[in-house]
């Protein structure tokens, strides 16, 4: 799914803006996001950032089924680079948001898949970085929790300095993005106004359909 190579890419993301990345499957959106998050190294060139960066993706990655919700919370947070102090501060919020109640202190092998997803989203969205990277995480849990977590991501986006988001939901992207990066085959086709970019994107899709 992730292309082996993207680029050359030259793009700036600024403070207080929400930038969307769109493109077909395999066009390099997630790879670009992971480069920005420092997860992947660039083969050449330079990536510079200012402030803390955190990726909202892979909900539940690193969870261990024998550990309790509480233990997994601390583990996940430290895997994402958040210090214990930060987790302590947000712990009540995480417990409340996950709606797990007393299950929070039980091993997650006893959880249903919905409960696991709720824990994952709660932890992943608990901490506010300066630069927030979002990679399609909104579709978990039942309808009411999905709505709740979508609202939570919106709040996070409001609180973050810079947001870079990958999503296939055109409505959501048009609503929140200030700019959109359109990618195709590992390269940036264009960057600009969301409406224009979606027009070009749909042209690209139609072109391929013909």
């Amino acid at each position: 799914m992730v292309p082996s190579r993207i680029g050359p890419i030259n793009v700036d993301f600024f403070d207080t803006e929400v930038v969307g990345i769109i493109g077909r499957n395999g066009s390099g959106k997630s790879t670009l996001l992971r480069l920005a998050g420092g997860v992947y190294p660039p083969d050449s060139g330079k990536i510079s950032i200012a402030g803390t960066v955190s990726m909202l993706a892979g909900v539940g990655v690193g969870f261990n089924k024998n550990l309790t919700g509480l233990e997994n919370t601390y583990l996940y947070a430290s895997l994402m680079g958040w210090p214990k102090k930060t987790v302590d501060k947000h712990l009540d919020d995480i417990i409340a948001f996950s709606e797990l109640g007393h299950h929070f202190h039980r091993p997650i092998r006893t959880y249903s898949s919905g409960m696991k997803a709720r824990l994952g989203i709660s932890v992943a969205t608990a901490f506010q970085p300066d630069i927030l990277l979002v990679d399609e995480v909104l579709g978990v849990g039942d309808a009411s929790f999905r709505k709740k977590s979508e609202q939570r991501v919106r709040d996070m986006i409001k609180g973050s300095g810079t947001v870079i988001i990958v999503s296939h939901s055109q409505g959501f992207m048009m609503e929140i993005c200030d700019r959109i990066v359109l990618m195709e085959q590992g390269e940036i086709v264009d960057v600009g106004d969301p409406k224009k970019m979606y027009l070009r994107y749909n042209e690209l899709l139609n072109l391929q359909a013909d």
Partner: protein
């Protein structure tokens, strides 16, 4: 308030420190992430011991049973009657399996944690280190399986016994250093893992698990074969642990120590250099 205060500055995300400094860079990044390493160790220990009724007792029962079985079989074949032989074998088993687990575990570390490496920017060596540290803790607990035997033999243990963990650390460090050098290749060439597992199985016989250093030197005298045998970095630490715990003296020559130290340091330097150069590139898009 000064508007420049707390305003983060633009800084490059990937700085490439000199390759020669890799050993120090790896030590530094692991010290920085010691909190995470502690959590990962706890996770591994907890998930291993929360299920079984006997829990941690297994780390003592296992080497105890293995030593009894080996010395029983060996006793039948060779007809040896050395009463401390079960303890000799047990120290060999603990030492060798620590080395082998650190070697294979570190070789596999990039594929074991592949899914994690798509989301986190935590240095990859941290996960290797936590695996090594977990194995170290388990081996250390296993050492207590020797207590009933030493008591049974009536051996007086001197203060030197405090040095045994150091030799465990040397074994772990050496095994994982070889693993670090192999890990970036093993993640793309799965066959390499099989090769290493085979080496670990053969190494069991080529290392002083069932045999001892004095057996080796009496067999080879002072010839070139004895000298070459010291290239096996587990010989010195396992023999030293036996000497310390059982109050024996195997007489490892100075050149043996020098060879052991050189192999270990060389492996660590090369291992960290290869790992730092290649590991982060190899996990992209796994």
């Amino acid at each position: 308030m000064d508007p420049n205060e707390r305003k983060p500055r633009l800084r490059p995300m990937w700085s490439e420190p000199s390759l020669l400094l890799s050993p120090f860079a790896v030590i530094h990044e692991n010290l920085q992430h010691r909190e995470l390493i502690r959590r990962l160790i706890q996770r591994d220990l907890d998930s291993r011991f929360r299920g079984p009724v006997l829990g941690y007792a297994w780390t003592i029962i296992e080497p105890l049973l293995l030593a009894l079985v080996y010395s029983f079989v060996f006793g039948i074949i060779v007809g040896r009657s050395d009463p401390t032989y079960p303890a000799v074998v047990m120290i060999g088993v603990i030492g060798w399996s620590l080395f082998a687990k650190c070697l294979t575990g570190t070789t596999k570390t990039l594929s074991t944690n592949a899914s994690l490496f798509q989301f986190t920017k935590i240095p990859k060596s941290v996960f290797a280190a936590s695996n090594v540290a977990t194995n170290l803790v388990l081996s250390f607990i296993s050492l207590f399986a020797l207590v009933p035997l030493v008591w049974y033999y009536g051996i007086d243990i001197g203060p030197n016994v405090a040095l045994t963990p150091l030799f465990l650390v040397a074994l772990a460090l050496c095994g994982s250093s070889f693993g670090l050098a192999l890990a970036p290749f093993a993640v793309r060439i799965p066959d390499l893992v099989n090769v290493i597992q085979f080496v670990a199985r053969v190494g069991f016989f080529l290392s002083p698990v069932m045999w001892t250093y004095p057996m080796l030197s009496s067999k080879f005298g002072d010839g070139i074969y004895l000298t070459l045998a010291h290239l096996n970095p587990v010989i010195v630490p396992i023999t030293m642990m036996r000497d310390i715990v059982l109050g024996t003296s195997s007489g490892i020559p100075t050149y043996g120590w020098v060879m052991f130290a050189s192999v270990t340091i060389f492996a660590f330097v090369i291992g960290t250099m290869v790992f730092r150069k290649l590991a982060h590139k190899m996990v992209v898009g796994l």
